[in-house]
Symmetry: C2
DNA sequence: TATTGTTATACTCTATAACTATA
DNA sequence: TATAGTTATAGAGTATAACAATA
């Protein structure tokens, strides 16, 4: 049967797979984020890196990797791209010569400022379907999965 | 300050961004899935496609795109890969000659059977941190984001 | 020994654009 | 006009492996 299934409104047994719902939700967020940030030409990860570098001056790449749960090579690729666009600069650390400190340039701070405005739109779209209590509950549940920010 | 921030246990203001938590959770799930399926050499999306093709015989690529919220070209790439590995075959539809029906091969059914076993492990790892009620709550909240399977 | 940064490499997902065939 | 499949192309994220410098 089902050659006429043009609009599968029932997910079937796969609908019980929690990982499946996480992937779908992530995809939806990813697409809306991309639309919202098409003018700024910034991705989710790029904004996260700009944000954390601004929040933690002289943060190193390895720290970003831990905070955003990315491999060193992945951080490298993102930082390279941001540096290539002149949004941040690498500098030498004075206390540990293995490490490189990261600092936003003026252009980087400007991009982040505009990104924060766009994030308001994006988060409103996302959070608009939940009450404040539900948002906190969802964040708490998701935190149990990724395990970050648990002091 | 903060050049000594080697283990940022506090996410700072970015911790209030719901989209940020969704990305982190998705990343954690993605990594564990990859480990669990490294022997089978199947990705999340590939398993989802095998699963849906098995659930809906003669489903077409466009249907997969709607169910999994992927672009036509993205579906194409995944189906090509699965077909190249001999896990499914394309066939002509008899009622709409624009469409191609998709069907699992014996190898595809075998791969899916093994995938279902691996998914049990993966989902146990994922769901183990929640009560049954919390799992249902989380799925309901995530469904409000991706909007699929809502009849 | 462990960590940091780095380079090279490769794979997957994702999407856009343009084309053909069919409805 | 709209939909389905297709092809070509490109960008981004992700990871592994190996190496040098430093702790």
């Amino acid at each position: 049967m089902n050659e006429t299934l043009h609009r599968p409104d029932d997910l079937g047994a796969i609908g019980d797979i929690l990982g499946f719902h996480i992937r779908l939700a992530h995809g939806a967020v990813y697409r809306h984020f991309s639309e919202t940030f098409s003018d700024l030409d910034l991705t989710q990860k790029q904004v996260s890196v700009l944000w954390l570098v601004d929040d933690h001056p002289d943060i190193a790449q390895a720290d970003l990797g831990r905070a955003l749960q990315m491999d060193r090579a992945t951080v490298m690729a993102i930082v390279n791209r941001l540096q290539g666009r002149g949004l941040l600069v690498r500098g030498a650390s004075r206390i540990d010569r293995r490490r490189q400190t990261l600092t936003l340039t003026d252009a980087g701070k400007d991009a982040l400022a505009r990104a924060r405005v766009a994030i308001l739109d994006h988060e409103s779209w996302l959070k608009g379907r939940f009450s404040a209590v539900e948002v906190q509950m969802l964040i708490a549940l998701l935190s149990r999965i990724h395990g970050a920010g648990v002091a």
